[in-house]
Every structure is written in C-alpha cells, then in structure tokens.
C-alpha cells in the first residue's frame, strides 16, 4: 500500500482479468511475515490521526510478566484486576516515550486493557495482554515523524521483539481498516546490548491521498455491500414493465424504461447522499441495528414490489426514502475512522463519489440485461425467481439484524465477497444482451418473423 492506487484501474483490471489478479495476490498473501520468530512477539498497531496517534499494544503475557514483575500469568479471565491494572499503567508509562524529532516529549495516555488467548505463526497458543494507548505530540508538532523510545518487555527480556505497524492512516491513503503496514521493528542491538529508538517516518501524507483512498473505499463498499446493490437492482428489475390491475403485464417501451431506471437511480443517490452527509457531518450517534434492519426491510419491500406492483410509478420516491437509510449505514464507515472535520469533509466527498461511480457502472452494466430480460418469454419466471431469492435474503438479514443470526444472512453476506464473479457475470450478461438484441433486430427487420422482440408487438408510445 505504498502508492495511491488508482481505483478505476483496479476495477477495470478486475473486469478484464479477475483470475489473473487472484493467483499472484494469493501468492503474495501466502508469503511469510517479515519476522520469523519462534517466541511470541509484541505488536504496536498505530492508527494515525491528524493530531494524535492511537496505539493498540499486544503483549505476550509470559514475557510481559517476566519483564514487568507484574504477574498476570494466573489470570484466566478477560479482566485485569484493578491492582494490577494500576501497576501495568505505571510500567507502560515508564517504558513508552515518543518524542518529536527535535526531542520534545509526547504525551502518553494508557487506556483500557484486557487479556485474551491468541497464537502467532509457530508459537502455539498463548495469552496476550491488549492495551489501548493514545500518543499525542506537543501542540503544532508533526504527528507523522517521531522518535519512538519504546522498550516495553525488551528492556528485560532482551530477546523480545516488537513489531510496529500502521492500521489506519488517512493522509497516507490507508483507510479500509483491513491489513496493516509495517513501520519497523524494535529489538535489542545485540552488539551494544541497548534498545535503539525507532525512527517513525509515516511519509508526508496529503489530503489528496486521503481523498483517493476514500473514493476507493466508497467503490469497494457498494461493490461488496450486497444489501445496497440488491435493493437498487430489485427496484430496477420491473422498471421496463407496465403495471395494470395489480399485476406486471406488458412493456412500457425502452425510452420510458430508461427514464424510470434513471429516476430510480437518481432518487436513491439523492436519498443516501443527503442522509450520509447529514449523519456524518452532524456526527450523529445512531445505533446500527435499526438502520440495518430498515435496509433489510427496504430490500424485502423491493422484492415484493418486483412480484406484484405495490407502488407502480412511485418507485423513485420509494428509492429516495429508503435511500436515506442506506446513507445512514454508509456513515458508519466514516464514523469508525474518527476523522478530523477537515478530513471528514474530504472523506465524505471521496466516499460518496466512489459509491456513485461504482453504482453508475453497475447500473450501466445491468441496463442491457434489464431491457432484454423484460422482452423474453421467460421474463416472469426470471423476475419471480430473482425476487423470491432476494426476498429470502432480505428476510434472513431482517431476522439477523433483529438479533437472530441465521445461515441465510451469512450466505447472503458472503455473496458480497465474490465481486469479481459478480462483475464478470454482469459484463457477460450485458454483452450477450446487447449482441442478442442487435442480431434479433437485424434478423427480424426484413422477414418480419422468427425471433421477434416483443416490443415490436407492443410499439413504443411514449
């Protein structure tokens, strides 16, 4: 994650050669970690903000107890008893000293801590102490370059190694919370039997890199968030159909169908953008489950509408209203990042842009299939099957969000991880549909028979 990845390139490459990416990526992921150490090591995982750095310390209990003299080895639960908690705080405060490159000390706050069981490559299972800390430079000092004087454990257990990694760094384009980049290793200089400080250099960082990363995050979010996509597609499914007498019958003609699809998409965009902006900028603390449940309900309503028209002609309004809920869900991603206001505004812009770009791409890809599908004789079967499947997924999600996890929800969620497959299928469908309608037109024009598109029978009157 060194350069700002061009998001558009990523998507295009996925389209063209999804499989070609997967193979080397798997090989890269399979590569062994930098430090091959048989004993469990510590990890200091940094989240870099505009004016502070939060650190998550993962400390193997065995070496920690030996080094600090604070015995945590007999504790089996998650909680560190109050007496030891105080001692741990004092010990850590004595061994963590970030400073500006000019030597001015940063402030160190030690926060919550807990114990857990874990394992690293080749260590076997062991217990770990996890501690949250906040490192704050003096006012105006550079947060991206500092000298990390840190000798927790290693001041005593001299073979102990600490990996320093960055999980989130907005200004460096690292925003998805997945995976970390290694900043450096803190270990004994054996020749001099001293622990040198780690020079942390997080690069210059820029709002541009943050913006680009947010566009990418937005794009990925809608691509992998099956629920948002499903809601839009299920609303678009009956768009080319005419509703008469509480049933989907006949076609409305391509121009009208296109207008409907455009209207629904725009309304959905407007709805979720407004809600996203309002929730994020207002820093509203909305509990996630009602929003998630609302989204599941929106998909269910969409699925029913695809079977029998519930609100024919008013799809755009419905898309806009339900879009509000989807926008609130988008804002959760931003809320988790604890961004400064300036970063938040840029992020909002980039994130929404990414969402809209991918949404546009997907709608364009789905468009030919939607139009052609409506003209096929098997249209009702496909529509009803799609709607039923979507309805089942939505029900599964609804039940899950209301507190009852179930396999249907899990399966539906996992569908979102097959983005390459999804894109390939959509593209193939789009190409096939376009080719089919072209050949069908050409063939049917002179003879007036054969495989006739149905909308010639029900001519376009719009």
């Amino acid at each position: 994650m060194t350069g700002p990845r061009n998001w558009l390139t990523t998507v295009l490459t996925r389209l063209v050669a999804g499989i070609a990416i997967v193979v080397p990526a798997a090989l890269l992921l399979g590569a062994s970690p930098a430090a091959a150490h048989p004993m469990p090591h510590s990890v200091v995982q940094l989240d870099v903000y505009r004016s502070s750095v939060s650190a998550r310390l993962e400390l193997p209990v065995s070496d920690f107890s030996r080094a600090s003299g604070i015995d945590l080895e007999d504790i089996t639960g998650k909680t560190v008893p109050a007496a030891q908690r105080k001692a741990v705080r004092a010990y850590l405060a004595a061994h963590i000293h970030p400073a500006t490159t000019g030597g001015r000390a940063w402030q160190v706050g030690i926060g919550a801590m807990h114990l857990s069981a874990t394992r690293q490559t080749s260590t076997g299972p062991y217990r770990e102490l996890t501690v949250a800390a906040v490192l704050t430079p003096p006012a105006g000092a550079d947060v991206r370059h500092f000298t990390f004087h840190y000798d927790v454990i290693v001041h005593q257990v001299v073979t102990h190694v600490t990996l320093v990694t960055v999980r989130q760094d907005w200004a460096n384009g690292q925003v998805d919370g997945k995976g970390t980049t290694q900043v450096g290793t803190i270990e004994l200089d054996i020749r001099h039997m001293k622990v040198p400080a780690l020079k942390v250099d997080l690069g210059p960082g820029s709002a541009w890199r943050g913006l680009v990363a947010m566009v990418e995050l937005g794009g990925n979010h809608i691509l992998t968030g099956t629920d948002h996509l499903l809601f839009l597609l299920i609303l678009l499914l009956p768009a080319p159909l005419a509703a008469t007498g509480g049933r989907w019958t006949g076609l409305v003609g391509p121009r009208k169908a296109l207008a409907r699809i455009g209207g629904i998409t725009l309304a959905f965009t407007a709805g979720h953008s407004v809600a996203l902006a309002a929730t994020a900028l207002g820093r509203l603390q909305i509990p996630s489950w009602p929003v998630e449940a609302f989204i599941a309900a929106s998909i269910l309503v969409g699925a029913i509408h695809a079977i029998r028209p519930l609100f024919p002609g008013r799809e755009a309004v419905v898309a806009g209203v339900f879009g509000l809920g989807h926008g609130m869900a988008f804002s959760f991603v931003l809320a988790e990042m604890h961004l400064s206001t300036g970063q938040l505004v840029t992020s909002l812009l980039g994130f929404n842009l990414g969402i809209e770009l991918v949404q546009l791409l997907l709608v364009c890809l789905a468009l030919p299939s939607l139009l052609v599908l409506a003209r096929l004789r098997v249209q009702p079967v496909i529509r009803l099957t799609g709607a039923a499947l979507t309805g089942v997924a939505a029900l599964g999600w609804l039940v899950d969000r209301l507190g009852l996890p179930n396999p249907v929800a899990r399966a539906a969620d996992s569908a979102g991880s097959h983005t390459t497959l999804l894109l390939v299928i959509l593209t193939l469908a789009a190409v096939t549909s376009t080719a089919w309608s072209l050949t069908a037109r050409v063939r049917s024009a002179p003879q007036g028979g054969g495989l006739r598109p149905r909308w010639r029978a029900a001519p376009d009157r719009s």
């Binding site: 091959a36 048989p38 394992r119 102990h160 001099h192």
Partner: protein
C-alpha cells in the same frame, strides 16, 4: 446495407476467431513440445556428467568424494536445486523454524529416492563427527524428534507427552570422542529415518509449517573440491549445519543451531532418545561446580526467551563479554568449561573438532561463562552462555510448542571469527 455490414463484420469476426484459435493451438502445442524436450534432456544429462569419487580418500577429500557420489545420483534438475552459489544470501539462509523450504535452500530429503537418500546420508556421515550422541548421530536424532512432532500433530494427542526430563548423565570429557577413530562407527550406524512427508495432518502449528524428517534440506554452496571454498548446508526444524571448506580444510564448523522438542521420548522399539541431554548435562556440571560467589558473578541481569544469536543475527556478538571470566575458575572447573562446549564442536568431523577444541582451550582464560534464570535448565528462561574470543555457545529453555506441558531447548554454536569460514563480513 446494415445487413451487408453485419455480414462483413461477422465474417471478419469469424476469420479473427479462426486465426486466434490457430495461434493458441500453435502456442500450446509448441509449449508442450518444448517442455517434453526439456524433460527428455534433463534425464539424459543426469547420467551424463560423472563427478570423481574416491572411496579411499581421507579428510576433506573424503567429504568431496561423498558429495560427488551424492551428486552423481541426482538428475540435473535435482542437482540444480542442490548445487548453489556460495553467496552470503544462501549461506545465511537457515532457521530454527519448521518453515520447510521457504527459509532455507537445498533439496528436500523427502523428494529423494532410496539410493539418493543413502548417498546424502553417507555425505553427512563423512562430514560430521562420529561421537556418541554428537555429530552425525545427534543430527539423525534431531530428525527423529521432528517425526515425533509430526505424529503428535497428526494425531492431535499433544497432551499425551513422551517421557519427561532426560536422565542420561554420561560425562563428556574434552578428549574422549574427539580422539575417537573414524572406524568407531557403532553409534553412527545409519538408522532408518522415515523420509516420506508426514500424513496430511502433519503440517503443524498454524501458519502452514511442516514437521517431520522429510522436511530437511541439503545444499552444497559452491562446488565441492579439495582446493576451492564451498559449504555443506543442511538443516530443517531445530537444525542448521553449516560447515565451510577452504583449500582442503574446514575453515568453519558454525553457525550450528541445534534444538529439540520433545526433549526426550521413547520410540516404539523401546529406545529412549534425548538428543540434547549430553549438551545439557555438560552445562549442568559446569554451573553445578560454581560456588555461590561465582554464580553471583556469572548471573546476567537480562532475561532470555530464546538464544541471542539465532538465525539472521550473524556477526552480532555483544562487544562486551558478560559473566564470570574462566581465568577465575579452578583447573577442574576450566576442564568442565571445555567439556561443556565439546558436544557442539563435535558437530564437525573428529579431526577438525580436535583442532577447534585446541584453539578454544588456548583461549579459555579469555572466555566467560554466564547464566540467566535458574541453573537447572528445566524452566522457561533458564539460560547459559559461554563466550570466548572464538567460541560462542548458548543454551536456552523455552516453553513447549507442540507439547505445551513441557519445555523445549534451543542452542546455538557460533565462532567470532570462523562462522561461514569467515568468508563474509557482517557490519
């Protein structure tokens, strides 16, 4: 008109498809033919070049001959993965971890045929010492220990522990096995080491690591010769043998990493193995001989959860030696120091080991003995170090990985000036 254009387009498309298919066919077919030719070629050349073998040779010449005999059994593809450059990158690529071929070069033992494996073992037997429980015998025991781990992992019965702490207490005097003649091969009889990859469950302990005697790797860095510089590089989990030859002599028998888990076990035939017992007992005798005052002087303030100078720590010897200086010890204790380091030095062929022991004996008064944790060498963190102008030996007790209710050992022998024959500088 549009019909005409479509037809044109269509016929053009068809042509393109035909051409594309034809190209693909040619490519695939061609690739196949080339691959076939390559395979056929390799088979031929394997039997082609025969390297000189002299069964009467002694010393380094015998090692060269055994190396050639081994190479002669290999196909050219196998030779290519065995015979590598004597580069710093290849020489320093060793690890104590069960990381198979991802962290060390060479040919994997489990890929060898019976004849090839026999030739590989003959080479090791020629290059390594003949002492009881040291040298070649010790290396084979280390491989056996890994088979114990593999079967423990595959049956997931890691809690059913083998026998506990080692009990053997044979006293290793500095002279006994170093003076053993090459004909004394009682302990060096090549026992049959299972070579196949362990059952699928054998890939152990998370991270896709693999246990078992099949996951050991033999490489020859540089071309074995009686005049040039080259290295025998052999290892796997808990084992790294690096013996460097220069102008017909051993110029370095280190770094030598040897560790073991489980520390002892009884095989199906009733034999009890404790590969590092001899090494540990020498240190126990030494520390046991120290008075309270001497112990206080030898005690290190730091704690250790592994050896300091493991893989990747080449040339990183501490500038200041710590512990008690051997010159302050009694003559009897000095002998115990030499006896304690001997099992590591006896890694290499007996004549070289005797030479090295002579050197280390001369340097004995400038050598230091230090320890951390307890002196029992039976608890996590117990640690002993012997650091001289040349010799560097570390022994550390760690918690078990596969047998979690036991401890296991890591040890390393290095030499301040002779690691890798002093062919590389580590600044």
């Amino acid at each position: 008109m549009s019909k005409e254009r479509t037809r044109l387009v269509r016929s053009r498309r068809t042509r393109r498809v035909v051409v594309g298919a034809a190209t693909a066919l040619v490519l695939v077919g061609g690739g196949f033919a080339v691959a076939n030719a390559a395979t056929a070629g390799s088979d031929k050349s394997a039997a082609g070049v025969q390297r000189p073998v002299d069964k009467q040779a002694k010393g380094t010449a015998a090692v060269v001959s055994a190396a050639n005999a081994f190479l002669n059994t290999l196909t050219s593809d196998q030779q290519a993965s065995t015979l590598l450059d004597f580069s710093q990158a290849n020489a320093t690529a060793w690890s104590n971890l069960p990381c198979g071929g991802t962290c060390r070069p060479g040919i994997q033992l489990s890929t060898l045929s019976d004849d090839q494996l026999a030739a590989a073992k003959a080479l090791l037997k020629t290059a390594l010492g003949t002492g009881k429980d040291t040298g070649y015998a010790h290396v084979l025991q280390t491989l056996k220990a890994d088979d114990v781990l593999a079967s423990a992992e595959s049956t997931s019965s890691a809690s059913a522990a083998p026998t506990d702490a080692p009990t053997a207490t044979d006293s290793a005097t500095p002279t006994d096995s170093a003076s053993a003649t090459a004909t004394d091969s009682a302990s060096a009889a090549p026992t049959d080491v299972p070579t196949g990859a362990p059952p699928s469950g054998g890939a152990g302990g998370g991270g896709g690591f693999s246990y078992g005697s099949g996951y050991y790797y033999l490489a020859l860095l540089g071309t074995p010769s009686k005049t040039g510089t080259w290295q025998l590089h052999f290892g796997g989990h808990h084992l790294a043998v690096n013996i460097t030859y220069k102008d017909g002599k051993v110029s370095g028998a280190s770094p030598y990493f040897t560790g073991v888990e489980p520390t002892s076990w009884t095989a199906d035939d009733g034999t009890t193995y404790a590969p590092l017992a001899k090494f540990r007992n020498g240190l126990l005798k030494l520390t046991g001989s120290l008075s309270t005052a001497q112990l206080a002087e030898a005690k290190l303030s730091e704690s250790f959860s592994d050896v300091l100078l493991g893989p990747g720590k080449d040339g990183d010897f501490p500038e200041t030696k710590e512990g008690i200086k051997v010159s302050e010890l009694s003559p009897k204790q000095k002998k115990l120091v030499l006896a304690a380091i001997h099992p590591w030095i006896a890694d290499v062929d007996d004549a070289t080991a005797a030479q090295l022991m002579k050197t280390y004996a001369k340097e004995l008064d400038q050598t230091y003995v230090a320890y951390s944790g307890g002196t029992g060498l039976d608890t996590q963190g117990d640690y002993v170090r012997i650091d001289g102008p040349g010799v560097w030996v570390e022994f550390v007790v760690q918690n078990g990985i596969v047998f979690q209710n036991q401890v296991h050992y890591h040890t390393v022998y290095r030499d301040h000036t002779r690691d890798y024959g002093n062919e590389f500088s580590f600044s």
